[in-house]
């Protein structure tokens, strides 16, 4: 039988990855090196704090991110803490929370979990039942706030998330499809309430991230969130993969698109000031914040926050 193995561009070991844009193959070691170098390059552009929070769901992206950060932690000025939000999604979240706990023990990274049930009095399953709003929208709003509660508890000023290049490309196209110009051309100024978000995988594809987790022995074939099936993101994802296959680099270009527009706008790019929510007191886009709008008359969260302050 002829050896039909494809070899690494850099070392002749068997390749595991085809970089379609650069038309090169990489072995597991060089793929790992490539991903870690991209994260190093990204982090050099940021002023890292003493403690860096990592939004850690236990899925492949945040697991790979935690692994990269643990690999390069001796080069970082920051200590790392993993922050997990348990939304309460039956048949899905138990497995990923367990995986998250195991990964943190393996990597020896401190880990903190916050539950919707404890913070809001209900699980996501309960909160979305009977609601006309999209489950992903509700979850996103409540998850962000839950993470910020952990951030305040630990006095963290910066959070790294596992968003990858594919996620960015999808968001750009989704914003264009929904005509949400405000999201693209405006933003909010800094607030002492919220931690700065950074995305070290912004230039790393989902496939590279998945391979990194697999090569590192941390990939688990976990279920997908049951609420994600019918989302607009799923449709956009399918569309973008079709483009990427016939036009390698399309995903990267889409991901960079919004960022470049903002860079070129310079000072014209508007940053609005936060308003204070009249119910919970947190900063938000309106006089009633999104969290309070989702929770409606349920006051448990408001009481929780008053107790904390």
């Amino acid at each position: 039988m002829a050896d039909k193995k494809i070899h690494c561009e850099k070392c002749e070991r068997p390749a595991v990855y085809l970089d379609r844009e650069r038309e090169i193959h990489l072995c597991s070691d060089h793929l790992k090196e490539s991903v870690e170098n991209e994260v190093r390059r990204y982090l050099k552009t940021k002023r890292l704090p003493k403690t860096l929070g990592v939004a850690f769901s236990g899925g492949k992206d945040s697991t790979a991110l935690l692994k990269v950060l643990s690999e390069i932690r001796s080069e970082l000025p920051s200590s790392i803490i993993a922050l997990t939000v348990d939304e309460g999604i039956e048949g899905y979240r138990q497995d990923t929370i367990r995986a998250a706990t195991e990964t943190c023990l393996t990597l020896r990274i401190p880990h903190e979990i916050i539950r919707f049930q404890d913070l809001y009095g209900h699980s996501l399953d309960h909160l979305v039942s009977g609601s006309e709003r999209n489950a992903c929208t509700i979850c996103g709003i409540l998850r962000r706030r839950a993470l910020e509660v952990l951030v305040q508890k630990h006095k963290i000023t910066m959070i790294a998330t596992g968003h990858n290049q594919d996620d960015h490309a999808q968001t750009t196209v989704m914003n264009a499809i929904s005509g949400d110009v405000r999201k693209i051309f405006t933003g909010y100024g800094p607030s002492s309430w919220y931690a700065q978000r950074i995305k070290p995988f912004a230039r790393v594809s989902e496939k590279e991230v998945t391979l990194y987790a697999l090569i590192s022995g941390l990939f688990r074939d976990l279920p997908e969130c049951p609420y994600a099936v019918s989302s607009l993101r799923g449709e956009v994802r399918t569309l973008l993969y079709q483009y990427e296959q016939t036009h390698p680099g399309a995903m990267r270009n889409a991901a960079r698109c919004e960022e470049e527009i903002r860079e070129r706008l310079g000072e014209i790019y508007q940053q609005e000031a936060y308003k204070t929510c009249s119910i919970c007191g947190w900063p938000g886009s309106g006089t009633i914040c999104q969290v309070c709008m989702v929770l409606g008359k349920d006051v448990r969260f408001q009481n929780f926050m008053k107790d904390e302050k």
Binding site: K4, D221, A228
Partner: protein, 64 residues
């Protein structure tokens, strides 16, 4: 060639000099959404398999 799909089912496919990528596409599977392994080793999707190969398709779950 045997193709082991993420749902654990196995299908027999003729290679005919095609890459795994082309074979997956012909089966309606987007190669960008999967990882491919042969004898427990990950291989790039442009690999041309042998007729007696068993190729496992690993689905990349989204999110996380």
């Amino acid at each position: 060639m045997k193709l082991k799909l993420p749902d654990k089912s196995v299908i027999e496919v003729s290679v005919d000099g095609r890459s795994v990528e082309a074979i997956l596409s012909s089966q309606g599977i987007d190669p960008l959404t999967t990882l491919i392994s042969r004898e427990d080793e990950i291989i790039p999707e442009d690999t041309i398999p042998d007729e007696d190969d068993i190729i496992k398709v690993i689905r990349i779950s989204h999110g996380g």
